[in-house]
Each structure stands twice: as structure tokens, then as C-alpha cells.
């Protein structure tokens, strides 16, 4: 089928809603005391409850509820005083109970939103609901000698606490969906509800996609696209799916409601066999758990423990520190970066310079070293101290860069590097006059050129003086002295 022309594409709009699953950062599972750690040998972090043994019963983890409430608040949701768990019934080898314990008609949180900026436009994306549920185990279909005949099951993940965040169908393009996922991820990381590590599957995403002619009231038939477990996959899959649906309609076809799987190798989505997706989950209230009640006082306690959220922090960085919007954006991407910056800014007394250093030298070197900001060898206070030394003229910009590189390599404060290497800036005219006399004596040809009117030669002479002091000389003082001498 031929791809539709840009003119045809322009007549349509896509309608996109996302379902985001985030793993809650609890120490133990949602319904038992097993650890949630990643990377343990298969089937070792398990007990009768998460193995689905006969007679085993779930007991709700309070810490998981608190994190889910935090997520709900951070996403501007109303928290229901009474919510309820329900069983979602289906058969799969990595689902040991034969049902998932989720929330259905009475979710924990609902009616929220997040504000995003996409393609230069600010917009608000509605959040229908945030509910809690347990994760299944993992089926492993490859990598064993007998993988042609058998699949293996690892139940370490079974019972890991998740929240599912369901958006309204408010997005109209893959870049809006991308921005929305980024905003949700940022908020969840900020409130420390989830590490959102997509490589470890701590954040997973499915999309509901339909298209319609612009201006139409009615929604088109939607397809659910699964397996969008990175930002790139989300964008590629949505772009592919939107074109596919428009082409289908343009060619006289009809979109069927189905579940489609994104294949990152081909960049395409493909319908799952109807047998695999023909699920009637037969939801009913989970009789093993009593309804979840969130009292006013519990909610107030969780609310009071909430950190400042990214949008608010960003606004404050602009108003209090005079940062540019772009800089404020970058510095509020993660809670760690924002806290690093604020500490460095406070110590330095020069927030704008501190911001430049965090975004420039620090982030560049961290990236090159493959480190997170939380693992930075240079502490925020030490970077602030370095910036302060620059501001007071103790270090030149060039010297500061050298000092910083050494601080980064060895994890030392600036004072230690400066002390050991004798790297203080030389501004003392007495000390510099001797060096300048040597430069003038050693470069008669250039001195002659300068005095002959070619004043740009002064840069060469300054460079010679800097070289002689291994960069420690104060450039401004050297230049002044040279001009005086050569008068």
C-alpha cells in the first residue's frame, strides 16, 4: 500500500492515549514480603504468596500505597477515600494465580493532568486514572538448549508493585505523546515513586491510536499498540501506525479494533492473532482484600512529604536565579540535577555561572564517563566553591577548567588541586614585571613590529607570558603591563 501524500496526511489528525506502567520503588513486593531487587537468580525472590500456592493470601504493602498516592498527587489527581482491588482473570504461564490483582471500577486516583510543551506549544494532557496492581513473572522463550520445545518462567518479578497511569485521548501526534511520556517520567522520578529505568522495565508504555479527518466529532476505531518500551520505539511505532491507518482508510479499508505489537527490528506494528487477544478478563472485586481506605490524615501526611514538583521548580529557577527558560528546563529534568544545581548555586554566590558549569563541563564529563549526576566525583558544594574562586578572581576561566578536570579525575576539592599544583592566578604586578621583562628581551622582532604599529602582535606576547607562568598569570594584568612597558 502506498504511503499517503503529505497533502492527504494533513487532512487527518491522530488521537492518542497512553497507558503507562511504572514499577513502584518499594523494598518489598505489593502483597508479600519478598524483595523486589533486580538481577537475583531466577525464582529465588519468591514465597507461597507470589508463587500462587494454594491457600496463600495477599496482604497489601502500605509503602506501595503511599508511593501510589504520591504519584496520584504529583499527577494532580484526586485520591479516592475508598478504592478497591479486583481480579483480572486470564491464563498465562508467568501469571501464577491465574489472575492479576488490579483495580477496576474504583481506582486509587483519578481526574488528574500534566502540562507539557510539544512542538513549541504548551498544552494540558488529562489523566483518567492511576491504579495499583501486581506484576506478573517473566517468560523466557530463548537462550536455552531446549528453547525450541520449552519456555522457562522466572517468578522473581511476580508481585512487584506497579501503578498504571491511563491518559485521556488528548494527544494528536507522536511528539505530543513523547513529551507526555517524558513529563510523566520526570514527575515520577522527582517524587521518587519509581526509578523509571526503562531498560529494566520499570517504565513500560502501551498506546491507543486512532485517526480521523480533522474537524470530525466522532473518534475513529482505535488500535492498541503494545511493546513501546523506549522513547524512540514510542515515536517510531506511533508514526508508523498513524500512516498505516490513514493509508488504510484512503484505500477504502477500515481500521479494526485490535492489539498490535511493535517490532523494533522492522519499525512496524503487526496485529496479534485474534485468539491471543480475545480476552474477557471477568473482573470482580478481590474477596481476599478489604477495600483500601485512605483517611484524611494519611493523605495529609503524604501530601506534606511531597517534594517541590518540576514545573514549580522550573518557574522558581527563572524568577529567583534569573536563568533562561532553556537552562531552567535542563536543570529540572531530574530531581538530582536540580538539587545539584541549587547547592552549587548557593555555595558559588553566582547562580548563572554555576548553571553554565553544571550544564556544560559537569554534564559533558559525566556523559563521557557514563555516569549519572548522582555519581558525580565532584560534589555540588565543591563545584560551587570552584565557581566562587573564579568569581572572586582567584582563578582564571582557563585555570578553573584545568582544576575542574583534576577535581573530576580524583574527586578532590578545588583547594587540594590548587595547593598541590601551585595553580593560583598570578595578579601581583611585582611578580609579573620580571616575567614581562624576559618576554620583551626574548622577542625583539615582535617588539619591533608592535612598536612599528602592528598592535595585534601584543596577543603573541601575552601568550608568551602566559606560557612562562603555565597559564597562571592574570591575562588582564599582563596585557596592561606589556602596553605600559612597550608604551
Amino acid at each position: 500500500m502506498a504511503a499517503p501524500s503529505p497533502e492527504v496526511m494533513a487532512r487527518y489528525e491522530a488521537v492518542i492515549g497512553l497507558e503507562i506502567h511504572a514499577q513502584l520503588a518499594t523494598a518489598t513486593k505489593i502483597f508479600c514480603g519478598c524483595p523486589t531487587g533486580f538481577g537475583a537468580p531466577p525464582n529465588t525472590n519468591v514465597c507461597p504468596v507470589c508463587l500462587g500456592m494454594p491457600g496463600a493470601l495477599p496482604v497489601l504493602n502500605r509503602e506501595a500505597v503511599e508511593l501510589a498516592i504520591k504519584a496520584g498527587l504529583a499527577l494532580n489527581c484526586a485520591i479516592r477515600p475508598r478504592s478497591r482491588f479486583a481480579r483480572k482473570n486470564y491464563f498465562y504461564p508467568d501469571l501464577p494465580k491465574g489472575y492479576q490483582i488490579s483495580q477496576y471500577d474504583e481506582p486509587l486516583a483519578e481526574h488528574g493532568y500534566v502540562d507539557i510543551t510539544a512542538d513549541g506549544h504548551a498544552m494540558r494532557i488529562g489523566i483518567t486514572r492511576v491504579h495499583m496492581e501486581d506484576d506478573a513473572g517473566k517468560s523466557i522463550h530463548d537462550g536455552f538448549k531446549d528453547s525450541d520445545r520449552y519456555s522457562y518462567v522466572d517468578l522473581n518479578r511476580s508481585g512487584t508493585p506497579l501503578i498504571e497511569i491511563v491518559s485521556e485521548p488528548d494527544m494528536r501526534s507522536s511528539s505530543e505523546a513523547y513529551a507526555y511520556l517524558a513529563a510523566v517520567k520526570q514527575v515520577l522520578e522527582f517524587v521518587e515513586v519509581s526509578t523509571c529505568d526503562m531498560e529494566k522495565g520499570h517504565l513500560r508504555c502501551d498506546a491507543n491510536v486512532s485517526v480521523r479527518v480533522k474537524g470530525a466529532d466522532k473518534l475513529g476505531t482505535k488500535a492498541e499498540v503494545k511493546n513501546l518500551n523506549s522513547f524512540r520505539f514510542l515515536k517510531e511505532a506511533l508514526d508508523y501506525e498513524i500512516v498505516r491507518q490513514i493509508a488504510l482508510i484512503e484505500n477504502g479499508g477500515r481500521v479494526v479494533q485490535e492489539t498490535r505489537l511493535y517490532n523494533p527490528d522492522t519499525g512496524e506494528t503487526a496485529g496479534m492473532r485474534s485468539k491471543e487477544e480475545a480476552h474477557d478478563y471477568r473482573y470482580f472485586p478481590e474477596p481476599d482484600l478489604v477495600p483500601l481506605r485512605v483517611s484524611e490524615s494519611w493523605l495529609a501526611r503524604v501530601r506534606s512529604g511531597m517534594p517541590e514538583l518540576p514545573a514549580r521548580k522550573r518557574a522558581r529557577f527563572i524568577s529567583d536565579y534569573g536563568l533562561r527558560e532553556y537552562d531552567a528546563d535542563v536543570l529540572t529534568q531530574t530531581r538530582a540535577a536540580s538539587e545539584y544545581f541549587e547547592t552549587a548555586a548557593r555555595v558559588s554566590g553566582d547562580p548563572k555561572t554555576a548553571a553554565n558549569w553544571v550544564m556544560g563541563d559537569l554534564m559533558g564529563m559525566l556523559k563521557a564517563a557514563g555516569k549519572e549526576i548522582s555519581e558525580s566525583p565532584v560534589s555540588a558544594a565543591n563545584l560551587g566553591d570552584l565557581v566562587k574562586r573564579m568569581a572572586t578572581g582567584e582563578l582564571s576561566g582557563k585555570l578553573a577548567k584545568d582544576v575542574f578536570a583534576k577535581m573530576f579525575a580524583k574527586g578532590e576539592p578545588a583547594s587540594a588541586v590548587i595547593e598541590r599544583e601551585g595553580l593560583k592566578q598570578i595578579s601581583d604586578t611585582g611578580a609579573l614585571e620580571k616575567i614581562i621583562a624576559e618576554v620583551i628581551a626574548g622577542n625583539p622582532k615582535q617588539v619591533e613590529q608592535y612598536q612599528g604599529g602592528k598592535t595585534t602582535v601584543i596577543n603573541f606576547l601575552v601568550g608568551q607570558a602566559m606560557k612562562a607562568t603555565r597559564g597562571q598569570a592574570n591575562v588582564a594584568v599582563v596585557t596592561d603591563l606589556l602596553k605600559q612597558k612597550l608604551g
Binding site: 507461597p48 508463587l51 500462587g52 500456592m53 494454594p54 491457600g55 496463600a56 493470601l57 495477599p58 496482604v59 497489601l60 481480579r87 482473570n89 491464563f91 504461564p93 501464577p96 494465580k97 491465574g98 489472575y99 518462567v153 474477557d280 471477568r282 473482573y283 470482580f284 474477596p287 481476599d288 482484600l289 478489604v290
Partner: protein, 478 residues
């Protein structure tokens, strides 16, 4: 030593008086059970190692002068739906033929902590689904009172071992009458406590919102003692109640004069004449004890069977999903694909009654049927609970038949599941309301078949129930 007539009190006296040691008693009880069991098939297996280890602990405690607990040395039988660590637990199903649980049910741990000696596991209807014990994958149980008759179900094995004397007391489970009906059929005492009174942790789920663990014994006192041991809040069961557990045996003081008792008229119309006569005589005994008996009405009773078989099967269809051939169950060897593996495993593994209930439950939860069946049944359940709440404004306890008829012949009703379901009518209401209820022997028919009388009281008021049952028991019956 005649182990067949022992009670908890008698065992305690014998141990403290050094008439016998706990080990001697356990060994003799095991020997007797093994010798007698072929008559009834009531035990699926004995657990001699576990029993002797428990008995040794009791003897050691006695030797050190410590109190070995209220169940010291008492031989207890346990229905095979309750998990026992290291002792195969089949739930009467082929699917769990080789399942050895890695943990103990909370009731089991408490029972052994109190000095109880678990002799073995008793036969039952598969996954506790049945009213005759004919749905066990390991053959039916015969009623020790009349060997050609059923012991009732689903806790038929537990009722039979108490009646036969091959255990002093037993644990059963009750979802719609599975303790009271077999107790009635076998002429023993059977108790379904308030929902939430005893932890369900380690009880294989049939219908989670209706499942109870409860005691069976020869006397009201024995069941009161056993319930006192296993009752109480358990952090492993979110539905277990945080209500204080009174000393039930302290209430067995005969003080029933002036108690107001209700006789629900809806429970009397379809009772077989002999059972009805025995019931009437029982009521006369209560009147002579000074109770104030009046007729009451529980109008939602007619809808109870339909309501129960929707809720119970809906929950069962989900609870039984885990027996899928993937992990600890039997797995069919004849499958090539995953869906065939599920189909064949469950097709070959489950008996007819379980399949029937899984299908019913799956149907009532299906898209488009949920509101008409499951949701409506929940509303009826609320009406049934309200009936009882209204009645208990007026009376302290309700007295009723347990079953419309006494123990029937093996095979007599197996081909008519609907008739079997309808016979649960008097017991399922108590489970739906979650109130305590019990069966206490009320005499025998001309053929010598026992008939039980049911006593129901308010939530968490087991005390009144035991007090009344004990006074009735002591007053004797015709």
C-alpha cells in the same frame, strides 16, 4: 486404652494423671486409625512422623513441668484442603496428588503450638465442592453410622473420623454448610465460626468470601476448646478480624433461661417429616430449659440457593485457575501447545463437579452477564444479611434444621446435581451472612440416622451459640 471415646478433657486428665504419655496415645491412635480406616475411607493418609514428633514435644514439656497447652496430646484430624508443611495435601483432587506444601496453614501452626497432635489428613469432596463426599478423586467416604450411606460433605472425612473415634477432634472447612451438614449426618458437633474469626491463610480457597475453617468434635465443649485455639487475628489474612477471642469454655455454664430464640418459618416447610419431628422435639427441650422460642421470618431465604451458587462459583472459577499444569500440579502429557496443555491438564485433572462449577462461575462473570448474575447475587446477599440483622434485633439466637433429610445412600443423588444444591438451603444462609452457626446432635431417626439441629447467632457471638448448644447437649434428646 480405648481411644475411640476420648474427649479433649479426658486426654488432659489422662496425661496429667500419668495414665498414658502423649507418645503412647499418639501411637495407639495411629494404630487404631489405620485399622479402622478401610471401613470408611475417611483418612486419605496418616502422618505418623509429624504426629509422633508433636507427641514427643508434649511429653518433653510435661517432663519439664511446663504447661503443654490446651490441646496437649490431643489427636486431631485435618481436612485435606488445609495445608500441612511436608505432608501431602491433595484437596481431594487428582491435580494435587503429589503436592507437598512448603508451609503450614495458620490454624495448623496454632493447633500444634497448643499441643495438638495431627494424626493425618481427611478425605473430602474435591476442592470442598460437594454435599456427599462422593466428589473425591480418592473415592467416597462411608458414614460410620451406616456404611451404605454418605457422611455428608464436603468435610465428610472429618465428620466420619470423629464419629468413628479415629480422631478426638477434627478441622473441617465450610463454604455453604460443609462442616454442619456432615456433622449432622454423622451425629457429631460441627462449628462454622464468624467469617474472619479464624485465619484462612493456608486454607485452599474455594470461594474466598465464604470459606471458613471450623472444628468438629464429639462434644460442644471440645469444639469450643478447639475454636479457642485456632481463632484470632492473623496478619497473613487481610480479612481476619481483630476482635478479642473470649474463653468459650467459660461460657458453658447452662445459663440459657430467658434466652430469646427464633424459629424461621421459611426453614420448616420442606423438611422431611422425621427430621422435622426431631427438630420439634429439640425445640421442646429448649423450651423446657427456659428459652423463649418464637417464630420469625427470614424472607430472602428463597433466593439463597441461587445467590450462593452464583457467588461461590464465580469466586471458585477464579480460585481454581492456578491449577493449570505449569507449576506444582499434575500436568497432562498429551499436549503439544500451551492452550492444549491447559485444556488437557484441567480436563483430565478436575472432576465433574469442579468443572460444572468452573463453567457456572466463568459464565456469571462474563462480559454482558456480570450485572445480571454476579451483581444481583451480591444484592441478594446483602438482603440475606439484613434479614439476619433484623431477626437478631428480636432474638438472641436462631434455631433451625441443618438439612432437609438425614444421610442418604451412596449414589442416590449423584446424578441430580440440582437436588444436591437445593439440599444446602438451610446452611448456606449462615455463610452468606458470615454469622457463626453450628450443628449439634438432636436425636436419631427410626433407622438410627443422626439428625442435627442448627444454632445461629450474631457476628462474633460464638459464646451464646456454644452456651445454648452445650445446655441442649446436656439436657439430652429422646
Amino acid at each position: 486404652m480405648d481411644v475411640s471415646s476420648l474427649t479433649i478433657e479426658r486426654v488432659r486428665k489422662g496425661l496429667l494423671g500419668r495414665e498414658f504419655s502423649a507418645c503412647e496415645l499418639a501411637a495407639e491412635a495411629l494404630r487404631f486409625a489405620e485399622a479402622e480406616n478401610p471401613k470408611t475411607n475417611a483418612y486419605l493418609r496418616l502422618a505418623p512422623e509429624r504426629a509422633m514428633a508433636a507427641a514427643r514435644r508434649v511429653d518433653e514439656q510435661l517432663a519439664r513441668g511446663e504447661d503443654p497447652g490446651p490441646l496437649a496430646g490431643v489427636p486431631v484430624a485435618v481436612k485435606d484442603v488445609i495445608l500441612t508443611k511436608g505432608v501431602t495435601t491433595t484437596c481431594g483432587s487428582r491435580l494435587l496428588e503429589h503436592y507437598v506444601p512448603p508451609y503450614d496453614a495458620t490454624a495448623i501452626a496454632r493447633l500444634e503450638q497448643a499441643g495438638g497432635v495431627i494424626l493425618g489428613k481427611t478425605n473430602c469432596d474435591e476442592f470442598a465442592m460437594g454435599s456427599s463426599n462422593e466428589n473425591s478423586a480418592y473415592g467416597p467416604v462411608r458414614n460410620p453410622v451406616a456404611l451404605d450411606r454418605v457422611p455428608g460433605g464436603s468435610s465428610g472425612g472429618s465428620a466420619a473420623v470423629v464419629a468413628q473415634g479415629t480422631a478426638v477432634v477434627a478441622l473441617g472447612s465450610d463454604t455453604g454448610g460443609s462442616i454442619r451438614q456432615p456433622a449432622s449426618f454423622c451425629g457429631v458437633v460441627g462449628v462454622t465460626p464468624t467469617y474472619g474469626r479464624v485465619s484462612r491463610y493456608g486454607l485452599t480457597a474455594f470461594a474466598s468470601s465464604l470459606d471458613h475453617i471450623g472444628p468438629l468434635g464429639k462434644t460442644v465443649r471440645d469444639t469450643a476448646t478447639l475454636l479457642g485455639v485456632i481463632a484470632g487475628r492473623d496478619p497473613s489474612d487481610a480479612t481476619s478480624a481483630d476482635a478479642p477471642v473470649p474463653d468459650y469454655t467459660a461460657a458453658l455454664d447452662g445459663q440459657v433461661k430467658g434466652l430469646k430464640l427464633g424459629l424461621p418459618r421459611e426453614y420448616l416447610k420442606d423438611v422431611a417429616s422425621e427430621s422435622g419431628d426431631l427438630m420439634a422435639r429439640g425445640v421442646d427441650v429448649l423450651k423446657k430449659l427456659g428459652c423463649d422460642v418464637r417464630e420469625i421470618s427470614l424472607p430472602a431465604t428463597d433466593s439463597a440457593v441461587a445467590c450462593y451458587y452464583i457467588i461461590a462459583t464465580a469466586e471458585a472459577s477464579s480460585n481454581l485457575a492456578r491449577y493449570d499444569g505449569v507449576r506444582y500440579t499434575f500436568r497432562s502429557g498429551s499436549a503439544e501447545t500451551l492452550s492444549d496443555m491447559y485444556r488437557n491438564t484441567r480436563g483430565e485433572g478436575f472432576g465433574a463437579e469442579c468443572k460444572r462449577r468452573i463453567m457456572l462461575g466463568t459464565y456469571v462473570l462474563s462480559a454482558g452477564y456480570y450485572d445480571a448474575y454476579y451483581l444481583k447475587a451480591q444484592k441478594v446477599r446483602a438482603l440475606i444479611a439484613r434479614d439476619f440483622a433484623n431477626a437478631f434485633q428480636e432474638v438472641d439466637a436462631i434455631v433451625a434444621p441443618v438439612s432437609p433429610f438425614p444421610a442418604f445412600k451412596l449414589g442416590e443423588k449423584v446424578d441430580d446435581p440440582l437436588a444436591m444444591y437445593l439440599s444446602d438451603i438451610y446452611t448456606i444462609t449462615g455463610d452468606l451472612a458470615g454469622i457463626p452457626c453450628m450443628s449439634v446432635p438432636c436425636g436419631k431417626t427410626a433407622e438410627g440416622l443422626p439428625v442435627g439441629m442448627q444454632i445461629l447467632t450474631r457476628h462474633f457471638d460464638e459464646t451464646t451459640m456454644f452456651r445454648l448448644a452445650d445446655a441442649f447437649e446436656k439436657a439430652g434428646t429422646a
